[in-house]
């Protein structure tokens, strides 16, 4: 494998799983980017936060949840929009002992949460940016 010397690819997903193939394509490209030696960071924005739901059981569709877990296990950093996740009931995000409470039984293990400013920092770190969904 050719190392890219710490080059980072940022991928933003904006569409929910199963209704379209954006999430599938994003996961597959992230897998190839890891194969090629990129550091991969993913931001789940808007309805795409539904890909973080655990125990998905698609019978015929691409198993997005499993793919996302596999990406995390391989070292990809997956961030989810905090306010989008609170709105859709995945986390509470309330202050608990001075820290935001992101504990949840509904979310795939390893998902991290951040605000839009965390996404901005991700974009600033990235050598490549790919955007999925939204249009």
């Amino acid at each position: 494998m050719v190392s890219l010397g710490g080059k980072t690819m940022a991928l933003m997903l904006f569409s929910a799983p199963f209704g379209s193939q954006y999430a599938d394509h994003m996961c597959r490209i992230a897998e190839r980017a890891l194969d090629k030696g990129y550091d991969v960071e993913i931001f789940l924005y808007g309805d795409s936060v539904h890909v973080q739901m655990n125990e998905q059981r698609p019978k015929t569709f691409f198993p997005v949840g499993d793919a996302l877990k596999g990406l995390i296990d391989r070292g990809a950093a997956v961030y989810s929009c905090e306010i989008c996740s609170i709105a859709r009931g995945y986390i509470k995000g309330e202050l608990k002992d001075g820290k935001k409470d992101y504990s949840s039984t509904k979310v795939i293990e390893g998902i991290r949460f951040c605000s839009i400013y965390g996404f901005v920092e991700m974009l600033g770190r990235a050598n490549r940016v790919l955007s999925f969904g939204g249009s």
């Binding site: 933003m12 904006f14 808007g46 839009i116």
Partner: protein, 120 residues
């Protein structure tokens, strides 16, 4: 300064694309970076001024306020001329500070400022 292009092709309120894109643009420009928001297709409805308070009336973010905030931070908002004409949107209906560009000029924006491009 690092550059970002945010392309919006959905009208506000029916989908969350417009205000999600403008949130990203605002975060980027407020961190000291350059942003150009490109409005195309139905996304040009974002330019309309004099919207009711959508937060109060329909519990959705106010894109008009987001546009003025992005411009106030030094960001550019550009709208595709042919998309505006197709929808009968004229200059006096538009928020101050919106730039109207032909397609060739928008292509140049994408090529020259598109180090990073997000589509909504």
């Amino acid at each position: 300064m690092a550059k970002l292009v945010v392309e919006i092709s959905h009208a506000p309120f029916g989908h969350e694309n417009a205000y999600a894109g403008l949130f990203a643009a605002m975060g980027w420009v407020s961190a000291g970076n350059e942003v150009v928001v490109v409005l195309r297709g139905a996304g040009v409805h974002v330019v309309r001024k004099g919207q009711i308070d959508p937060l109060k009336e329909i519990s959705l973010p106010a894109t008009e306020r987001q546009v003025t905030d992005v411009i106030g931070e030094g960001g550019r908002i550009v709208a595709d001329r042919s998309s505006l004409e197709a929808r009968g949107i004229e200059r006096d209906m538009m928020i101050d500070g919106i730039e109207v560009l032909d397609r060739d000029a928008i292509r140049r924006v994408l090529l020259e400022d598109g180090e990073r491009v997000l589509t909504f």
